[in-house]
């Protein structure tokens, strides 16, 4: 799983930080999982699919961690 730096404990969002150590100190860098956007489309429109167990309708998107193995299942026959 890939992570992306988001901020320091002081709110600084710049990955590079300079500080003067005048006493004991703890610094915390926060990372978040990197996601990618999966969009489902269909022809004709309106078809529903199940993406890793989650139902979405054509035209909708879902954000998932980058590198995720995605299993998408659509119905063999639809009435729309």
């Amino acid at each position: 799983m890939k992570y992306r730096f988001t901020h320091w404990e002081n709110g600084d969002i710049t990955p590079q930080r300079t500080l003067t150590l005048s006493a004991d100190a703890a610094v915390t860098a926060t990372y978040a999982v990197m996601t990618k956007r999966l969009t489902f489309a269909s022809t004709p429109i309106g078809v529903q699919a199940v993406v890793n167990g989650q139902t979405i309708t054509a035209g909708q998107s879902i954000d998932l961690p980058e590198g995720t193995q995605v299993t998408i299942i659509v119905p063999g026959e639809v009435s729309v």
């Binding site: 990618k36 269909s42 961690p65 299993t71 063999g76 026959e77 009435s79």
Partner: protein, 219 residues
């Protein structure tokens, strides 16, 4: 409207599709209009006959799979069963006496027709001519020279009592048979042809010549 899954954007034809999310991506499922089908059964009574539906021949009581929509059923104008001749009487649903029926199918359907036995007038008999190709009855337009009537085999010809020679031509093949018509008798004549396969553009017409036989050739 019903749609049948066809493929994914990468050509995968399975409804279950597996990918690794390496970047933003769009997965597209493509569907095609589902081809719907309905069943048609044509029945006939009191005898079984061969009918054509959209030009293809079927035995009555055989389920036929068709797409919804308009179709043309053609029942033979007459048919021979044993030594009896039957004439088309009507379609039972609407009473139509036209052997050709147009039907709009929206669901499974059974269409029934009725035949009635032909009564041969005194002093007359009849022949029913059936032409076969590899044991399959030839359904083709025919022409009877004397009356210039056209239709499909079997050809039913009513004749006065007497002796005749029947000549049937299919393509380049000709078959000849002497017959004797007896009062009230119906005769079934089967002719087997071997013109296989009919070449492209082959005229499927059957020519039937009926001539009065010379006394010396009468059986």
């Amino acid at each position: 409207m019903k749609w049948q899954f066809n493929h994914w954007e990468n050509g995968d034809v399975n409804v279950e599709h597996v990918v690794t999310l390496a970047g933003d991506m769009t997965l597209t499922a493509y569907y095609e209009e589902a081809v719907q089908s309905v069943s048609l059964v044509v029945t006939s009574s009191p005898i079984a006959v061969k009918v054509t539906v959209d030009g293809y021949e079927y035995d009555t009581s055989t389920p036929i799979t068709l797409q919804p929509g308009n179709h043309t059923i053609v029942a033979p104008s007459n048919a021979v069963s044993g030594s009896d001749i039957y004439n088309f009487k009507q379609w039972n649903d609407d009473g139509s006496t036209n052997p050709t029926k147009l039907i709009n199918l929206t669901a499974d359907a059974v269409v029934a027709c009725t035949y009635q036995i032909q009564v041969v007038p005194p002093g007359k008999g009849s022949i029913g001519i059936h032409a076969f190709l590899d044991l399959t009855e030839i359904i083709a337009p025919y022409e009877i020279v004397e009356t210039a009537t056209t239709g499909n085999t079997p050809a039913i010809v009513e004749l006065t009592v007497g002796n005749y020679t029947v000549k049937v031509t299919y393509g380049s093949e000709t078959k000849t048979l002497p017959i004797t018509i007896i009062d009230g008798q119906n005769i079934r004549l089967d002719f087997q042809f071997t013109t296989t396969p009919p070449p492209p553009g082959f005229d499927p017409s059957i020519l039937i010549l009926i001539g009065i036989a010379a006394a010396a050739t009468v059986l």
